[in-house]
Subunit: 103 residues, 2 copies
DNA sequence: TTCTCATGTCGAAAAATATCGACTATTTTG
DNA sequence: CAAAATAGTCGATATTTTTCGACATGAGAA
């Protein structure tokens, strides 16, 4: 039994906690599933495809960006979001590798 | 843009939402990291290795079991938990595969 | 510049989740 | 059987998260 992690968790792992928390919400999952492969969507698009208000969608987009799931790019007065599929795959693979080594 | 998921999400995906939500909590992450490879721990063990009360640890263990991350086995008056590493790897791999196909 | 559109932010309210002590059930020990 | 050990449940409280309307900002259009 490891007692090391009872109080503190390495920063590297906290990043994954943040990632999983971001993915573990149904509304955010809905937002992510709205993206077609390689597609770019702005806040208005995503709000229309949702049942939530714009500030709320904006809030979820912020969390998804901070977790590294989405990429944010400003174009004129619009802000476009894109799914960071490659980065996401890489990070999930890291977790799988860890589990495989400590199985 | 897919509008299909705006309201409803397939049951198959909700299961992943539950999984990620379970993994996306620092206290639960601490609990999971306490397990050494293949190790089996009971509630008392895990409570001692934690800063939380026993009912709270019990609560987190319940969520982790419901999400399929831990396995629960009753032995006499003790209840032992084991990390379902294989199942976890398999499910994360499914997500990776989906992302790869829709990249 | 003035107007409109696209977003972000802020504060408050609502909803969900986490936390704990007290109590209960069950099993083993003396 | 009585006592101790192990763990689940319940109800109340605390904390966190979600949600929205109102306001602020900044960029393009008229």
């Amino acid at each position: 039994m490891r007692k090391t992690y009872a109080q503190t968790i390495p920063a590297e792992w906290q990043q994954y906690s943040q990632l999983f928390a971001a993915l573990g919400d149904l509304e955010r999952q809905r937002i992510l599933l709205t993206f077609e492969p390689g597609e770019t969507l702005n806040v208005t698009d995503l709000t229309r495809a949702s049942s939530l208000s714009r500030p709320t969608v904006s809030h979820h987009l912020k969390l998804l960006c901070e977790a590294g799931v989405l990429e944010r790019e400003k174009r004129g007065r619009e802000v476009h979001f894109r799914l960071r599929a490659d980065a996401l795959i890489e990070r999930l693979q890291t977790v799988i590798d860890y589990l495989g080594e400590h199985r």
